[in-house]
């Protein structure tokens, strides 16, 4: 039968791959179709080599998409996608040594992204590499009103791309555990203060599970709508392996309700999740990679 195939595994090339902070890299990849298809909060699965090591693809949140201008030979503009990643395990260690022109395979855009809410105030909360899926969201939300980004990390090296958010017109509030950049303290403390002034806000968050859990507690106590983007280990990214499931709010042992992070997420409304069952991935790197 004839059917519309919505997606292909894109065999493509790297346009640039640079270290933007110690241990953090930004990779720009040629990605036809991504500018029109990628929505805020979606991700892609990336494969470095057509080999067996590492065997599985790595999921990465889409940071942004864009157009390369037409070049001097009159070739048409080209679409690209950008990811930000932290070097953690075997896959990201391979990735950091790649250069312009090297080949990669990408599958995407995948998953369900953010739902844009019509709230008078929009607050984004990012923890470390967790800010990745918030950038395209911010670019959409600034068209609707005032957007604030609360960005937290352990130290200044974990604070990425803040000036790019500012260029969009986002107000940014930085906090670090050690006080090496911005305010000393937790990003959740900043959130509490903001919500005292802005009780009508909608909140969108991505970061370590402990941070998300705290953000959920703060928002739930104030009846503030919250969407969170989760990270999980996954093999396929398309809802087949069932490796990345999280327990849904209705989940019981008798009536299991498991949601695929890759397919039903990675963005969830806070009320969809069974928070006390939510586990911390073994490390947070912008993908699900483990340390070797």
């Amino acid at each position: 039968m004839e059917q519309d195939l919505l997606m292909t595994n894109l065999k493509t090339t790297i346009l640039s791959n640079q270290e933007v902070a110690p241990g953090y890299f930004r990779m720009r990849i040629l990605a036809p179709g991504f500018v029109t298809s990628a929505r805020p909060g979606q991700f892609l699965m990336l494969r470095v080599l057509d080999g067996m090591e590492p065997l599985l693809r790595r999921p990465f949140g889409i940071f942004r998409t864009g157009w390369l201008p037409a070049d001097c030979q009159g070739l048409p503009p080209k679409e690209y996608v950008e990811i930000l990643y932290k070097v953690v395990g075997s896959g990201t260690t391979l990735m950091k040594d790649l250069h312009q022109g090297d080949g990669v395979e990408i599958l995407g855009p995948l998953g369900k992204g953010f739902e844009l809410l019509d709230a008078p105030e929009q607050i984004l909360v990012g923890g470390g590499i967790g800010l990745v899926p918030l950038f395209m969201l911010a670019a959409q939300l600034v068209k609707r009103g005032r957007v604030r980004l609360l960005m937290g990390g352990r130290c200044r090296d974990d604070i990425l791309a803040v000036t790019e958010f500012e260029r969009l017109g986002v107000e940014t509030y930085v906090s670090t555990d050690d006080g090496s950049l911005g305010e000393a303290g937790l990003v959740t403390e900043v959130l509490v203060r903001q919500l005292e002034r802005l009780p009508q806000a909608a909140v969108y968050a991505c970061g370590p599970t402990a941070m998300l859990r705290a953000v959920h507690g703060i928002c739930a106590a104030r009846d503030v709508p919250l969407q969170v983007s989760l990270e999980a280990y996954m093999a396929c990214g398309v809802g087949a392996c069932l490796g990345c499931v999280v327990a849904g709010a209705e989940h019981t042992e008798q009536n299991p309700q498991y949601l695929c992070t890759c397919k039903e997420g990675p963005v969830f409304r806070a009320g969809q999740l069974l928070w006390h069952k939510l586990e911390e991935p073994r490390d947070v790197c912008g993908c699900n990679e483990e340390e070797p």
């Binding site: 997606m7 065997l55 395979e105 093999a235 087949a240 499931v245 299991p256 340390e291």
Partner: protein, 315 residues
């Protein structure tokens, strides 16, 4: 046009037959790596496949194991999903309508927690004309009840196979576990009990440890190892089973590309299942089918059945 020209124009035939089931080619997904089909429909036309095999189904929905459920290992992966599935009723209501639009045969993989549940599932499947065949899972290493309990003891395996065979109308494929001392004992037992075909192998029980936290990398402690790491073992076991039984054998285990599939076919497998490769590349199966056709052309083979069991062990 003479016959040779016709064959050239039409290309080599990849069609095979498994227990009366006509497959346009010998490539199908391994249960549990292809969801219920629809997950991969955005990537290629499912009619390209020889058959579709569903995620393992049970009478009632099953929650599966806690996470982490998967861990990458050298040239492979461990999984302990725990047979999470929507149950046969939800499958027929929500998943089967989608699969009906395709012409390729749908094979339902199923399991039970008890002997009675296996029998009840067989009765239910017998009444479903859309189900072309059933694959009996007596080999899942990741659940306490059912699964491997029936798959490691020849007496228990024969009992469940005979029961299911009595109720089922469609061809019965029995999937064997490699976690036994001698797989040919199990193969003989299920053939004698009425299996129409055998698929082997399921995953090998394995374990991986996080040396930093000193904890197992899977919440279930152990899991099933799949991927290219297990392929030589799978080829050996398929070869042994082919020599033991008369029923057709479907080879499974670490097939990533056409060359891997050909090893199984030459060793005597009538068809192959592709598992972990689907996770790595959603286009893996169409690429394998194209690779089989290319191999046949290059080897001057007009019919894939000439390749099956063509292993040369003498001279």
């Amino acid at each position: 046009m003479n016959r040779a020209q016709q064959t050239r124009a039409a290309g080599p035939s990849l069609a095979v037959e498994i227990a009366g089931l006509h497959l346009k080619n010998p490539v199908m997904p391994a249960s549990g790596t292809f969801g219920y089909g629809e997950e991969y429909a955005p990537f290629f036309n499912l009619d390209e496949l020889g058959a579709i095999i569903t995620k393992g189904l049970s009478l009632r929905p099953k929650a599966g194991n806690p996470t982490p459920r998967i861990a990458e290992t050298t040239s492979g992966m461990l999984n302990a999903i725990g047979l999470q599935n929507v149950g046969i009723d939800a499958f027929m209501r929500d998943k089967m309508p989608f699969l009906r639009q395709f012409h390729t045969p749908v094979i339902v993989n199923f399991f039970g927690n008890t002997l009675d549940e296996y029998g009840e599932m067989a009765r239910r499947l017998a009444d479903l004309p859309e189900v072309a065949a059933a694959e009996l899972n007596i080999s899942c290493p990741n659940v306490k009840a059912g699964g491997i309990v029936f798959g490691t003891d020849p007496g228990a395996a024969a009992e469940v196979v005979a029961l299911v065979r009595r109720h089922l109308r469609q061809p019965l494929i029995v999937k064997l576990t490699p976690n036994v001392t001698d797989i040919t004992v199990m193969a003989r037992a299920v053939e004698e009990a009425g299996a129409d075909a055998i698929s082997c192998i399921n995953t090998l029980t394995g374990m991986a440890v996080d040396i930093r936290t000193r904890r197992p990398r899977l919440a279930n402690l152990t899991g099933g190892l799949s991927g290219p790491a297990i392929r030589p073992l799978a080829v050996r076991m398929v070869y042994q089973v082919v020599r033991t039984v008369k029923v057709p054998v479907i080879g499974v285990g670490g097939i990533m590309r056409a060359e891997d599939a050909l090893e199984f076919l030459i060793a005597g497998a009538r068809a192959v299942q592709v598992g972990t490769a689907n996770f790595v590349d959603p286009g893996a199966m169409p690429a394998i089918i194209a690779g089989l056709e290319k191999y046949c052309r290059e080897q001057g083979v007009t019919d894939i059945n000439q390749v099956i069991g063509s292993l040369k062990t003498e001279g």
